[in-house]
C-alpha cells in the first residue's frame, strides 16, 4: 500500500483511470503516511473522514466514466484556503476556532475536478515567514537531513512549509500553496519539489485569507513539473468574485511538458550575482544555464537594474497591505476574543494574544509606512520603485527574452533557529530572488536541480512573461530532465 504514495500525481491519475488502483486505496495510503508523519507537523487539521468520503465518490465516478481531471487524487490544502465546514486557521491563534461556511474558489475548483482533500497544511502565521517557524501550531520539520547532522531540524521553507514538506515526505500527491514574496518557490526549492507562482490574476484569491492583496497568488507544489501543470490547470481560471482575476482561457498546461525549448531566449540577470551568493549557488546557477543551453535554448545576459531595491520595497508594500487586511481580526465577529474593559481594551488584548511576534511586527511596519507624514516617503515611493521593477522586466521581454533564469534561493535550507532569531532581516533575505516576480505580477516556477554538498536540495527559478506559464513548464521540464536524479528522504520520522 505505501508504494502508492510514491506515485507521481500523473501516474496515480493514469492508474486510477485504468482501474489499476482505487481512489479509496490511494487515499488510505496517504492517510496512513500522514498518520505516521505527525512528527513533521505538516498538517494543522487532518480530515480523513472527508477524504475517504470523497474517495468513495471518486471511485463511483471513475466507474461510471464521469471522472474529473483530478478524480480521486489526494491533495493537501494550505490552511490559508478557507474550507467549507473545516477549521481554517491561517496558522494563527486568532483564527484557531474559525470554521468558514464557504470554500475558497481555488480549492473549490480542485474539488470540482475530483480531488480528494486530506487536510489543512501548516504554514507560517498568515503566510508571514520563510521557515514555517512562525506558525501558532508549531514549526514544520522538513523530511530532509543535512549530511552528518542527524539532530538538526531542517526547515521546509515558508510560508508554504507544510505544503512543501508534505509533498516531499509523500504525504500527498500535491498541495496548494500561496506566494506573496516567494512562499511557494522558496519552500519548493528547500524541499526538492516543484512550486509554481502563477501570473497575478491567473488564480482567484477569493476565499484565501489575504496577506498582501496586490502580491498574493495561489499555486501548486508537486514532485514533478508535469504534476504542477496538471494541478494548475484545475486551480486557475477567471472568478467574477475576484475582480483582479483575469478572464483569459486556461490552457492545457500539461501539453507544454516535453515541448521543445530550442531557440528559446533565456535571460540571465547580472544583478542577481549578489555579494552574498555562495560559490556553490553560483556554480549551480551556471549549471542550470548549461542544461538549458544543451536543450537548445539561447542564453543572453540581461540587466534588471532595479533588482537591489526589490526587497526593501517589498517589505514596505506587503506589510502596508497586511496591516489593513488583518484589521478585520478584531474579536468582534469571529475568531479569538479576549475580554476587555472597553472596546479598545478588547481589541488590544485580542490582537496581542491572537497574533504572533512576526505578524505583530509586520502590522506595525505597515501601519508606520501608511501613517500621515510617512506615506509619501515610504508607500508612494515604494509603489514607484515597484513600477520600475516591472518596467525592467517589460524591457527585457520586449527585447525578445522568453524567460529569466535565476537561483530560487540564496542558500539551501537551514535548521530551526539558525536564521532571523536576532535580526529579522536575515530571514527576509531568503526572498531576495523571488520578490521581484510578485512585485511585477509575473509567473515564476521553482524546479529542483539536484542536491548540494550538504545533501540538501537546490532549486532554480524561471520567470516568464505574464500569462505564459506554458513556456515556464517546458523550460522547467527541460531542467528536470537534465538535472541529476535524487531520491526523496527515507521516512526516518516513522
Amino acid at each position: 500500500m505505501s508504494d502508492l504514495t510514491h506515485l507521481s500525481l500523473a501516474d496515480a491519475r493514469d492508474a486510477l483511470k485504468s482501474k489499476k488502483i482505487s481512489a479509496v486505496e490511494l487515499t488510505k495510503a496517504h492517510l496512513g503516511a500522514m498518520e505516521s508523519a505527525r512528527a513533521l507537523n505538516c498538517f494543522i487539521t487532518e480530515t480523513p473522514e472527508l477524504a475517504l468520503a470523497q474517495a468513495q465518490a471518486s471511485d463511483e465516478k471513475l466507474a461510471s466514466g464521469q471522472a474529473g481531471p483530478l478524480e480521486g487524487l489526494p491533495l493537501g490544502i494550505k490552511d490559508l484556503y478557507c474550507s467549507k465546514g473545516v477549521r481554517t486557521t491561517a496558522a494563527s491563534r486568532i483564527l484557531s476556532n474559525f470554521t468558514p461556511p464557504y470554500e475558497s474558489t481555488v480549492s473549490g475548483n480542485l474539488i470540482r475536478d475530483g480531488a480528494v482533500t486530506l487536510g489543512k497544511l501548516n504554514l507560517d502565521e498568515f503566510a508571514m515567514g520563510s521557515s514555517n517557524e512562525t506558525s501558532a501550531f508549531g514549526p514544520v520539520i522538513s523530511p530532509w537531513k543535512r549530511h552528518g547532522d542527524p539532530d538538526a531540524k531542517i526547515v521546509p521553507g515558508g510560508s508554504s512549509g507544510g505544503s512543501s514538506a508534505a509533498v516531499a515526505a509523500h504525504l500527498c500527491l500535491g498541495a496548494t500553496a500561496t506566494d506573496t514574496g516567494g512562499s511557494i518557490r522558496q519552500p519548493a526549492a528547500f524541499t526538492g519539489t516543484v512550486g509554481v507562482k502563477p501570473t497575478y490574476g491567473r488564480c482567484s484569491r477569493w476565499g484565501i485569507v489575504a496577506f498582501a492583496s496586490s502580491l498574493d497568488q495561489a499555486g501548486p507544489i508537486t514532485r514533478t513539473v508535469r504534476d504542477a501543470a496538471i494541478m494548475l490547470r484545475s486551480m486557475a481560471g477567471h472568478d467574477p468574485k475576484d475582480t483582479t482575476s483575469v478572464d483569459a482561457p486556461v490552457p492545457d498546461y500539461e501539453k507544454a511538458i516535453g515541448a521543445s525549448v530550442k531557440g528559446r531566449r533565456i535571460g540571465v540577470p547580472k544583478e542577481y550575482r549578489l555579494d552574498g551568493i555562495s560559490d556553490e549557488i553560483a556554480a549551480f546557477w551556471d549549471q542550470g544555464v548549461a542544461w538549458l543551453k544543451e536543450a537548445g535554448a539561447e542564453i543572453v545576459e540581461i540587466s534588471l537594474p532595479h533588482t537591489k531595491y526589490a526587497l526593501p520595497t517589498y517589505y514596505i508594500i506587503a506589510p502596508a497591505e497586511a496591516s489593513s487586511n488583518l484589521a478585520r481580526y478584531d474579536g468582534v465577529r469571529y475568531g479569538l476574543r479576549e475580554q476587555g474593559r472597553d472596546i479598545t481594551d478588547m481589541y488590544e488584548k485580542t490582537r496581542a494574544k491572537g497574533f504572533g511576534a512576526e505578524v505583530r511586527r509586520r502590522i506595525m511596519i505597515g501601519t508606520y509606512v501608511l501613517s500621515a507624514g510617512y506615506y509619501d516617503a515610504y508607500y508612494v515611493r515604494a509603489q514607484k520603485v515597484r513600477s520600475l521593477i516591472k518596467r525592467d522586466f517589460d524591457t527585457v521581454f520586449a527585447a525578445g527574452v522568453d524567460a529569466v533564469l535565476t537561483p530560487a534561493t540564496p542558500s539551501t535550507a537551514f535548521a530551526q533557529g539558525e536564521q532571523g532569531s536576532t535580526d529579522p532581516v536575515e530571514m527576509y533575505l531568503n526572498d531576495v530572488f523571488t520578490v521581484t516576480v510578485n512585485m511585477a505580477g509575473l509567473p515564476g516556477i521553482a524546479v529542483p536541480g539536484g542536491l548540494a554538498a550538504n545533501g540538501l536540495p537546490l532549486g532554480l527559478q524561471l520567470i516568464g512573461r505574464p500569462f505564459d506559464e506554458e513556456t515556464l513548464f517546458s523550460l522547467a521540464h527541460a531542467i528536470e530532465a537534465a538535472a541529476p536524479k535524487f531520491d526523496f528522504p527515507q521516512p526516518w520520522w516513522r
Binding site: 484556503y81 478557507c82 481554517t88 491561517a90 483564527l95 474559525f98 468558514p100 461556511p101 464557504y102 475558497s104 484569491r205 477569493w206 476565499g207 484565501i208 485569507v209 489575504a210 498582501a212 492583496s213 496586490s214 467574477p240 468574485k241 475576484d242 475582480t243 483582479t244 502596508a320 497591505e321 496591516s323 489593513s324 488583518l326 484589521a327 478585520r328 478584531d330 468582534v332 465577529r333 469571529y334 472596546i343 479598545t344 481589541y347 501601519t367 501608511l370 501613517s371 500621515a372 506615506y375 508607500y379
Partner: protein
C-alpha cells in the same frame, strides 16, 4: 465663489458684525437593490443582521466586487450637478477600528473621486439666488450600526447598513447663512430625487449632513471651522448652524479662539457638543484598495447616461418661466418636487397657467402642508383643480366661491362642475338681477350714499352689501361697475 455675504446675513455680535461661512458634506444613500461591493440587499430596515453577506461581515478571504448600478447612479448624479465626470477613479481604504466597521477600513475614494467640481443653483428666497460650488462627489461604503441600549454590559452590532453605497457630496464653503444652507440641502435633495439616485429620506438616514461652520469678520480670511457631524433634518441643519455660529462668536468676542474639532448637535438642548478634537482625529492611513482595480469607463457610457437623464429642476424652471410665463420664484416652487411640477402641468394644460400656478401653490400646497400630505396623495386631483380653474376663467364662479368649492372637493370629492350645479354656486351674471340688488342697497342706505359721494372708498362697503344680498354669487366686476355708475363715483 467665496463671496462676502449681504449685510442682511451678518450676525450682530457684542463687538460688531460677523459673517458665518458654511460648507457641507452630504452623505446620500444610493438607490440600488444591492450594496456597493456585495450582493446583499440595501433595503432599509429588516431584522438586525438580515441583510449581511460574507463580504459585508468581512469574513476571511472575502473580496469586494463593484456594483455597476451604484457607479451609474453616481455618474448620473454628477451630471445633474453639472460636474466633471472622471473616467478613471480609484477606491481607497480608510483605516480605523470600530465594531460596526467589520473590515477595519471603509472603502472610499480619497484622491481620485468619480465626480469632480460641479455646482448647485439655489433659490434662497423669491428675490435671491446663489450658486453653491461642489468640490467633488465620491462613492463609499456605509458602516453598520452599534446598539448600546440592548444590554447593560454589552454593545450589539447590526451590519444591515454595512457596505451600503453612499455618495458623499462635498460643497465648497459657499453658504453664508443657515437659510442658505437649508435651501442648499433642499435643492440638492430635490435634484437627487429627480435623478432617482437617492430617495432623500432624512428620517431613515438616506440623507445625512456634516456641516462645517466658521465665523469671521466680513472681509477677513476664513476662520477656524468646526464640523458638526451627522445632522439628520433640514430644520436641525439650520438650528445647528445658528447655535454653532453664536457659540464661536461668543468665544472669539470673549478673547478666546476656536479649536478645530468635530461636534455633535443636540436638538433637545439646542447646543453643539465636542465629539473629538483635531489632536484626537484618526490617522486614517488611506491607500489604494489593492482588491479593486481602478474604476474606468468611457465617455460614450457617460454620454448615454446624460441622454437618458430626466428634465432636471433648473431646466424645468426655465421652461415654466418661458412656456407658462410664470414668475421665477413660482416656477422655482413648482419644480422643487417632480410630482408637484407634473401636477402643475396637468392642471395648467390648456388653461390660464398663471391662474393654475396660483391655485397649485397657494390653495393646494397650502392645504397639503397643513395636512402634512405629499402632492401624490392630494385628495383634489389635477383634473379637479383644473376644472375649478376653468370655472373661474369662464366667470361661472368667483374666486371667493372657488375657495368654497375647493374645500368641498377636498373634503367630499366630486366633479367641481357638478358640485357647482347641484349646490347653486354659479355666479350671477344676469345684470338685471344684480341691478335689482344694487338698487335695493342704495335705496336702503341714503346716508351711506351721501358719504360715498364724498369718499369713494366707501364703494367697498356697498360691494359687500350687494354680495351679501346675492349670496356671494354676483359677479364682483359687474357689481362694481353698476355701483360706480349709479353712485356717480
Amino acid at each position: 465663489m467665496a463671496t462676502q455675504a449681504a449685510p442682511s446675513k451678518l450676525i450682530k455680535g457684542a463687538t460688531g458684525d460677523w459673517e458665518v461661512v458654511i460648507g457641507m458634506e452630504i452623505h446620500a444613500q444610493v438607490t440600488s437593490n444591492a450594496k456597493l461591493f456585495s450582493g446583499a440587499s440595501a433595503e432599509y430596515g429588516g431584522a438586525p443582521n438580515d441583510h449581511v453577506s460574507l463580504v459585508d461581515a468581512a469574513m476571511p478571504g472575502m473580496l469586494p466586487v463593484i456594483n455597476e448600478e451604484c457607479v451609474r447612479q453616481a455618474i448620473r448624479t454628477g451630471l445633474g450637478l453639472e460636474a466633471q465626470i472622471n473616467l478613471r477613479s480609484i477606491f481607497d481604504r480608510k483605516n480605523y477600528f470600530y465594531p460596526d466597521l467589520p473590515q477595519g477600513y471603509q472603502i472610499s475614494q480619497y484622491k481620485h473621486p468619480i465626480v469632480g467640481e460641479g455646482l448647485v443653483i439655489v433659490d434662497v428666497s423669491p428675490t435671491e439666488r446663489i450658486t453653491v460650488g461642489v468640490e467633488r462627489l465620491h462613492l463609499e461604503q456605509d458602516a453598520g450600526k452599534s446598539l448600546h441600549d440592548l444590554s447593560p454590559s454589552e454593545s450589539h452590532v447590526d451590519l444591515n447598513r454595512s457596505g451600503v453605497a453612499l455618495m458623499e457630496i462635498v460643497s465648497k464653503p459657499d453658504m453664508r447663512s443657515a437659510e442658505e444652507a437649508r435651501a442648499y440641502v433642499t435643492k440638492l435633495r430635490a435634484l437627487l430625487r429627480y435623478i432617482g439616485s437617492c430617495d432623500g429620506n432624512m428620517e431613515q438616514g438616506s440623507l445625512r449632513a456634516d456641516v462645517n461652520v466658521s465665523v469671521r469678520r466680513p472681509g477677513d480670511p476664513l476662520g477656524t471651522r468646526c464640523e458638526i457631524k451627522n445632522v439628520n433634518s433640514i430644520r436641525f441643519i439650520g438650528q445647528a448652524i445658528e447655535v454653532e455660529a453664536r457659540r464661536q462668536i461668543g468665544i472669539i468676542e470673549d478673547g478666546g479662539k476656536i479649536d478645530q474639532e468635530t461636534r455633535l448637535f443636540d436638538p433637545g438642548k439646542g447646543e453643539t457638543r465636542s465629539m473629538r478634537s483635531k489632536e484626537e482625529a484618526h490617522d486614517y492611513r488611506y491607500f489604494p484598495d489593492p482588491d479593486l482595480l481602478p474604476l474606468e469607463f468611457d465617455q460614450a457610457y457617460v454620454d448615454a447616461l446624460k441622454a437618458q437623464l430626466p428634465e432636471l429642476p433648473d431646466a424645468k424652471r426655465a421652461r415654466f418661466i418661458e412656456q407658462y410665463g410664470l414668475p421665477p420664484y413660482d416656477a422655482g416652487v413648482l419644480v422643487m418636487e417632480r410630482a408637484s411640477a407634473d401636477f402643475f402641468e396637468e392642471t395648467a394644460k390648456g388653461r390660464d397657467a398663471k391662474l393654475a400656478a396660483n391655485w397649485v401653490i397657494n390653495e393646494l400646497f397650502g392645504r397639503l402642508n397643513k395636512e402634512g400630505l405629499d402632492v401624490t396623495r392630494s385628495p383634489v386631483s389635477a383634473q379637479a383643480l383644473g376644472a375649478i380653474v376653468d370655472l373661474i376663467s369662464s366667470n361661472v364662479i368667483s374666486g371667493k366661491i372657488a375657495k368654497d368649492l375647493f374645500e368641498i372637493v377636498w373634503t367630499e370629492g366630486g366633479d367641481p362642475k357638478e358640485v357647482v350645479e347641484a349646490r347653486g354656486m354659479k355666479q350671477v351674471t344676469d345684470t338685471g338681477a344684480i341691478e335689482a340688488a344694487v338698487d335695493a342697497v342704495i335705496a336702503a342706505n341714503p346716508d351711506k350714499v351721501e358719504q360715498a359721494k364724498a369718499k369713494p372708498t366707501m364703494l367697498g362697503w356697498f360691494v359687500g352689501q350687494v354680495m351679501k344680498q346675492t349670496g356671494g354669487k354676483a359677479n364682483p366686476q359687474a357689481v362694481n361697475d353698476l355701483l360706480k355708475s349709479k353712485l356717480g363715483v
